[in-house]
Amino acid sequence: MKELICIVCPRGCHLTVDDNLNVSGNNCPRGEAYAKAELTHPTRTLTSTVKITSKLEVRCPVKTDKPLPKEKIYEAMDLINHVKISAPVKIGDIILENILGTDVNIVATKNINE
C-alpha cells in the first residue's frame, strides 16, 4: 500500500495504490495513470527559460512538450542553459529536438515577435 498526492492538476487528489497497482482516491483517469507511472517510471514536465536575442526580452520561457523521465531533469537543464535563440519565436516552436534520446522536445511557451 502506498499513498500519493496526485500532481497532475492543482486539485491534488490523495491517492492510494495497492501492491497490484490498483489506484483509488482519484477523481479522474489521469490520476490512475499518474500513480502507476509514479511508482514505475516517474516523469515530470520541466519548465525553464532560454536566452534570447530580442528587442523586447532577454529570456524566452520554454517547456518539455511531454513529461520527461524524472532522473533526466538536471541533464535537460544543462542543455537548456546552453541555448541561445533569436526572435521571432512563437509558442510551440521547437528549441531543442529529441533531448537525451527521450523523444521529448523543448518548445517555446511565449510569442516574442521582434
Partner: protein, 417 residues
C-alpha cells in the same frame, strides 16, 4: 472629456477576461489601462505549468495561458493603453491616469477594477532582526529569474509555504541554487498539495511546519544567516528550538493582499477578504464600479479568476442596460463558524434566472464536515467534505429560486460531526 462605456483597470487575466466577455455581450466601447508594457499581468512570470485545466481542458504555462487572452483582445480590437499608471477613480467614475502622453481623465459609465494583489513583505510580517540585502518576496525573485535571467542567490531559505514560494524552491533548485528549507508558521501548508510533492519532495527540501524566522542576521549589509524557531499554538517562539541556517537569500512567500489602493478615497467598505464589499455581480457599493480577480479576493487558480471576471462582465451588462437596480433590498452574506470569508458580501434582489455563486475559504483544515449554507434558520444547501483546507477555495452554485431574498442573512458555516 473622452467617454467610455467601460474602463477596465488592469490588463492581467481578470481584466482581459472581463473585456472579452463584455465585448461578446455587446459592450464594445471599452478601454483597458495597464501599468506594464505588456498585457497578461503576473502570468508573464509564471512560466511553470498547471494553468487552464478548467478553462481549456489542457495544462498550460502562464505565458501560454495569457497569450490566448491577449490574442483575443487584439483580434476583437479592444482598445488598451500600456505603460499607464492609473492615479485615481472619482465617485462620478472619472478615471485619471498618466502615461507617455501625459495626464488624462476619462469618464466611464462602468468600471471594472482588476488590479490584482501584492505580496506581503518583511515589514508586513514584522520580521525580526536586520534589514540586509538578500531578502526578497518570492514573486520578486521569480520576476528576476524568469524574465531577466538573474538568480538572486545560491543558498536560499524560504519563509512561508505559499505556492509562489514552493514554485520558487523548485525553480531555484533547477538553476543550481541550494534551497535549505521552507518554514511555515501554521501547522499546515498554505500551498497546494501537489506543489509540496513536486517542488519540495522531488528536491529533498524540508518543510518546517509551525516554524518561522525569528531573526535575520546581516550586520554588514548582506544577509548572512537566519535563525529559525518553532512556535506554539499561539505563535509564540518555543525557547530552545532555535536553529541557524547560513544563507545569502531569504524569500518571503507569506501571503497576498488585494491591491485596493484606488478604492481608498471612495468611502466604500472592505470585506474579510480585504477586497471591497460586493454584490453577486461583483459590483462594489459605488454603483457601476465592479471588482474581480485577486483585487477582490486572492484566488488559487487563474481559471477561477477568469470565470469570476466574466461574472463581473455580466454585471456590467445588466448595469448598462438598467437591469441592476441599486436598491436597499439586499440580504447580507456572512461567514460564520469555521469560514474565513465569503464572496459576495450581499445579494441584491434581481429578477433573473442567474445562479448565485458563493466563493469561500475555511479558516483552518477540517475533516469529515458539512459546509452549510442557510438563509435565516433555513438550510439551503449542505455539502459533505471528506477533507477541506484553507488554500483550496470552495465554489458553490445555487439556484436563486431556493432563496427568499427577503432581507434575512445568508450564512456559510462549518458543521462538525
Amino acid at each position: 472629456m473622452e467617454q467610455f462605456d467601460l474602463v477596465i483597470i488592469g490588463g492581467g487575466s481578470a481584466g482581459m477576461s472581463a473585456a472579452i466577455e463584455s465585448y461578446n455581450l455587446g459592450i464594445k466601447d471599452i478601454l483597458i489601462l495597464e501599468k506594464n508594457n505588456y498585457l497578461g499581468g503576473i502570468l508573464n512570470q509564471c512560466i511553470h505549468n498547471g494553468f487552464g485545466l478548467q478553462e481549456f481542458k489542457e495544462e498550460l504555462t502562464g505565458p501560454e495561458f495569457m497569450s490566448r487572452f491577449s490574442k483575443k483582445v487584439n483580434e476583437l480590437g479592444i482598445k488598451y493603453e500600456l505603460n499607464t499608471n492609473v492615479l485615481g477613480i472619482s465617485k462620478d467614475k472619472v478615471v485619471s491616469y498618466s502615461n507617455k502622453d501625459g495626464y488624462k481623465e476619462v469618464k466611464a459609465k462602468a468600471i471594472i477594477l482588476t488590479t490584482g494583489c501584492y505580496e506581503r513583505n518583511a515589514g508586513a510580517i514584522s520580521l525580526g532582526g536586520d534589514r540586509p540585502s538578500g531578502v526578497y518576496t518570492a514573486g520578486q525573485a521569480q520576476l528576476y529569474l524568469n524574465n531577466y535571467g538573474k538568480l538572486v542567490g545560491k543558498k536560499v531559505f524560504i519563509l512561508g509555504s505559499g505556492d509562489i514560494g514552493l514554485i520558487m524552491a523548485r525553480r531555484m533548485s533547477l538553476e543550481g541554487a541550494k534551497v535549505l528549507g521552507v518554514a511555515e508558521l501554521m501547522p499546515y501548508s498554505a500551498g497546494l498539495n501537489r506543489n509540496i510533492v513536486q517542488c519540495l519532495q522531488d528536491f529533498n527540501i524540508p518543510l518546517y511546519l509551525s516554524h518561522t524566522v525569528k531573526e535575520v542576521i546581516g550586520p554588514k549589509g548582506h544577509l548572512e544567516k537566519i535563525v529559525l524557531a518553532q512556535v506554539d499554538e499561539r505563535f509564540n517562539f518555543i525557547p530552545g528550538t532555535e536553529q541557524e541556517f547560513e544563507c545569502d537569500t531569504l524569500l518571503l512567500s507569506v501571503g497576498l493582499v488585494p491591491n485596493v489602493d484606488l478604492l481608498s478615497k471612495l468611502g466604500i467598505h472592505f470585506a474579510k477578504s480585504r477586497g471591497p464589499v460586493v454584490n453577486q455581480y461583483m459590483e462594489t457599493e459605488l454603483e457601476g464600479l465592479f471588482a474581480s480577480g485577486n483585487v477582490l479576493h486572492v484566488h488559487d487558480l487563474v481559471d477561477y479568476v477568469v470565470s469570476e471576471a466574466r461574472e463581473a462582465a455580466q454585471g456590467v451588462y445588466l448595469f448598462l442596460n438598467n437591469k441592476l437596480p441599486n436598491t436597499n433590498e439586499k440580504s447580507l452574506v456572512k461567514p460564520l463558524k469555521g469560514v474565513g470569508y465569503v464572496v459576495p458580501n450581499y445579494i441584491q434582489k434581481i429578477d433573473n434566472d442567474d445562479k448565485l455563486i458563493f466563493k469561500f475559504r475555511v479558516a483552518k483544515p477540517y475533516k469529515n464536515i458539512n459546509l452549510v449554507i442557510k438563509e435565516g434558520d433555513k438550510v439551503i444547501k449542505k455539502i459533505f467534505k471528506l477533507a477541506i483546507i484553507p488554500s483550496e477555495m470552495e465554489i458553490v452554485k445555487i439556484d436563486k429560486k431556493l432563496f427568499e431574498l427577503n432581507g434575512e442573512d445568508i450564512t456559510v458555516e462549518v458543521e462538525e460531526k
